[in-house]
Amino acid sequence: MITQALITQAVAIAEKRAKRPGASVYSGRAITMIERSLYAAKSSNWLIIISGFVEPVLYLMAFGFGIGQLIGDIQDGSGNPVSYAAYIAPALLATSAMNGALYDATWNVFFKMHFSKVYQVMLSSSLGPMDVALGEISWALIRGATYSVGFMAIAWPLGLVTSAWGLLAIPAATLIAFGFASIGMAITSYMKNFQQMNWVNFFLLPMFLFSGTFFPVSVYPEWIQVIVKALPLCQGVDLVRSLMLGIIDISVLGHIAYFVVMIVLGLSFTTVRLKALFMR
């Protein structure tokens, strides 16, 4: 006698999905990873979360309004005068999106991969590796986007947004956060120990200081400009600055394309790496 296999709800859900292409890596339930992150966030240290948001605000105060007093107005990309604070505010908005995204996508992901082993458990349910990648990256981007909204809430009343295009800085920051979260998680998946993780920080500080954040990249010799402009933060700074100062041209589309490529690459690499690490 062969007993008919019992069709439980979980089985019915998985079988419905099974006919779709890519079903072995993606079940369409990345959202459940975000639900998990919400539960975890409730009990995490709020001080750490807030500190990530405060950092760029402190830079804005110290450099924008402090040193800005000494500098006076400077010229934006198209030759119009703009206060120094308004010049660096977009850069700091892009930076806060980056910081928020990377905080989760690097250190938190590293901890989960090597110590708490939550990904192994997720992959023993009917989730696929791409659900995990997309879920974690989305959570990181939510954090990045939240930081940039918070920053905007301070920058706007201070009159640092000089164009109505500035509203689009929020979706732009979300795109930037998505890009950094994707690449950040992909890179983290190759890291084996804390020393290697520290290299990430070692790379981030100079990128923050020299990506056209506090002064235009035109001060560099030509060949250095080429390198700096290829860096993701520089692309992000240019994008947000164009929008907040209302200097809209074709380069905006170029920046967007840059981040789309970054997202696609990061997401694919992360999926492949999760498979290689936990499903070998």
Binding site: M1, I2, T3, A5, L6, T8, Q9, A10, V11, I13, A14, E15, R17, A18, A23, S24, S27, R29, T32, E35, R36, Y39, A40, S43, S44, S116, K117, V118, Q120, V121, M122, L123, S124, S125, S126, L127, G128, F278, M279, R280
Partner: protein, 313 residues
Amino acid sequence: MSKSVEREAVIRARSLTKKYKDFVAVDGIDFDVYRGESFGLLGPNGAGKSTTMKMITSVSQRTSGELTILGKEPNNQGPEIRAHLGVVPQKDMLDRELKVWENLVTYGRYFGLPRKWLKTKVEELLEFAQLTEKRNEKADDLSGGMQRRLAIARGLINEPEILLLDEPTTGLDPQARHILWDRLFRLKEQGVTLVLTTHYMDEAEQLCDRIIVMDKGKIMAEGSPAELIRKYSSKEVVELRFGTDKNEGVAKQLEGKSERIELLPDRILLYTDKGEALLTSILDSGLHPVTSLVRRSSLEDVFLRLTGRTLVD
């Protein structure tokens, strides 16, 4: 209905092999697991038990051979297969940042189960795992036995047909082990197929209808615990300790006294059907062991016979 009952194989492996570069973790094994039974993979660390479990869960791809789980192919039907399985990993791997009930709900959500349905299911499982009172504690704050029970409850959230347990009682105290065994018995009564790995012989004897003994990636023997003991050991065993430096010398004198004799670094084992009688005759012959013990033969003895090594070293 005819009396001959054809058993349905829920897991079927033929020449199943897993290699990591040059290392062969699982070396061409054949086995079937039938619906409703409790099936054990027994062997020391590194025998290939966990690798076999991972291949069944389809989180590890086999190098060669055949493997089907409920007729499905793990290489490309992973999520579908896992929807039928409950997995209790070796080190629990609970979500330590979350509370007890959150662990259950989130894991249920990974399967796509609706929140409303999970609400009642979680209560039922908390009850089953005797964790109702601990529902709001962080998973990290539970005792070892409770964490293991939570891991089992989590593995049951999708109402699996097959529950895979990787060393379910390793590291638990005797009382916690017995509570756990009791819970596993109940699941078996409900018709859940259990597949478990263990390196504890008493656990295999307690829980398993059928076992395979693995060593270095190969199957050494297969059968029910009683069958294996009958086939590879004697009814009883006399254990003698004369002191580390004397055991070897005494063992030579004892040769021929029993069906088989094993010399271990710390003791001598004599295999016989009449333990007490043998012990009396040894004592009468003027030998004075520091300690002596007559016991029932166990799977430990089977393993020793098959591999020449003890199981937990």
